[in-house]
Subunit: 211 residues, 2 copies
């Protein structure tokens, strides 16, 4: 198909298509004549994936380029694809304090988790513990054990989805998309569960008393 059809099918402007090609996110089409390039279904699918990573996932173009390169690199083992996806997600700028990192490390030991010291989750979780400390609310860290349990359930589901993906390319896509978007899916369900449980604890008992 021509670039105009590709643009319409994928919902991406021709200018953006050319930009993504230049930046290495999208393979070039096949030159079939002067000023004419043919694209195929693979380009449609890749463009949709690019939009998802950038629009829904909030990745920068260069971060999206890095995770797409990890999908394309067939020599890369899955743990490395995971790592690429985890590092691509926007992180906090300020590094976590040594004290906060130590608290996360203690939790990791408690749960028997086997992870590298440079796992980006340590920095991310540590930064939040620092934020709690900064407002004198270290008590909020009491949620850690339950959050860790929930994280294990979520990670198990993530790995199940990976196992069910079939081809290596689909597995790599699962890692990238699941890692980037899974946080928001979980955040959405958390809002719903919060409202339900607030109702159960604070409102339902009161209505029962009244009836």
């Amino acid at each position: 198909m021509r670039i105009s059809e590709l643009s319409e099918r994928a919902g991406v402007s021709p200018a953006s298509i050319k930009y993504y090609t230049r930046e290495g996110l999208l393979p070039g089409g096949e030159r079939t004549g002067y000023n004419q390039t043919e694209y195929d279904e693979g380009h449609v699918a890749r463009l949709r994936l690019i939009r998802i990573l950038i629009d829904a996932g909030g990745l920068s173009v260069s971060a999206a380029q890095r995770v797409l390169a990890a999908i394309d690199d067939e020599d890369l083992q899955l743990p490395s694809v995971f790592e690429a996806a985890q590092h691509a997600i926007p992180q906090r700028e300020a590094p976590a304090s040594a004290a906060a990192r130590a608290r996360v490390a203690a939790l990791i030991e408690q749960r028997g988790w086997m992870v590298h010291g440079d796992n980006p989750g340590i920095e991310l979780a540590g930064g939040i513990l620092d934020a709690y400390t900064a407002i004198d609310r270290d008590d909020l860290a009491a949620v850690l054990p339950q959050y860790a349990e929930a994280a294990d359930i979520v990670a198990a589901a993530d790995l199940d989805a990976l196992d069910a993906s079939g081809s290596r390319e689909a597995m790599a896509e699962t890692v990238v998309v699941g890692t980037v978007l899974g946080d928001s899916l979980l955040a959405g369900l958390r809002r719903i569960a919060q409202q339900h449980q607030t109702y159960q604890r604070y409102i339902a008992p009161r209505s029962e008393q009244q009836s």
Copy 2:
């Protein structure tokens, strides 16, 4: 204390202090003379909270203003404070499709969750399901039941933290800070659990075979 000391204690510039006061995020200090204003410990604590919401939580100044108003409004019941916090967190711009909302509604019914139809989590989770559909990866939604279970564990921890907070003001702060920052804390722990479980499933079995 003078504005210069407040600025140093809270790590916020005098210009920002004046800006937050004008925008209604920070109560004004006490005028003690010509061009002189006294601030107290309450101002230090509030400024730190403002920075956490904006820097770590990614809230806009107007979103931070709304959640702080919910903390300050003593007539507001806790479920309403939750709602204010949930609505303040940056959302996706595109609304979820009716089909995706129906899938989230089916999950809500399955779990017996009692929630309002306008809970922002429905929109957020629905938008992610739409993203999966857009790249022909509806199979990724297979994680929903496990994610929902994890969300319930997290929400229960959130409510426990709330119960333990003591004063109404501390409770409201717990709701706001926990809702805004809890997503990132959970995301961090998810990265760690993912790495651990990838190791368990893909790497540890192979080393055992070799030994």
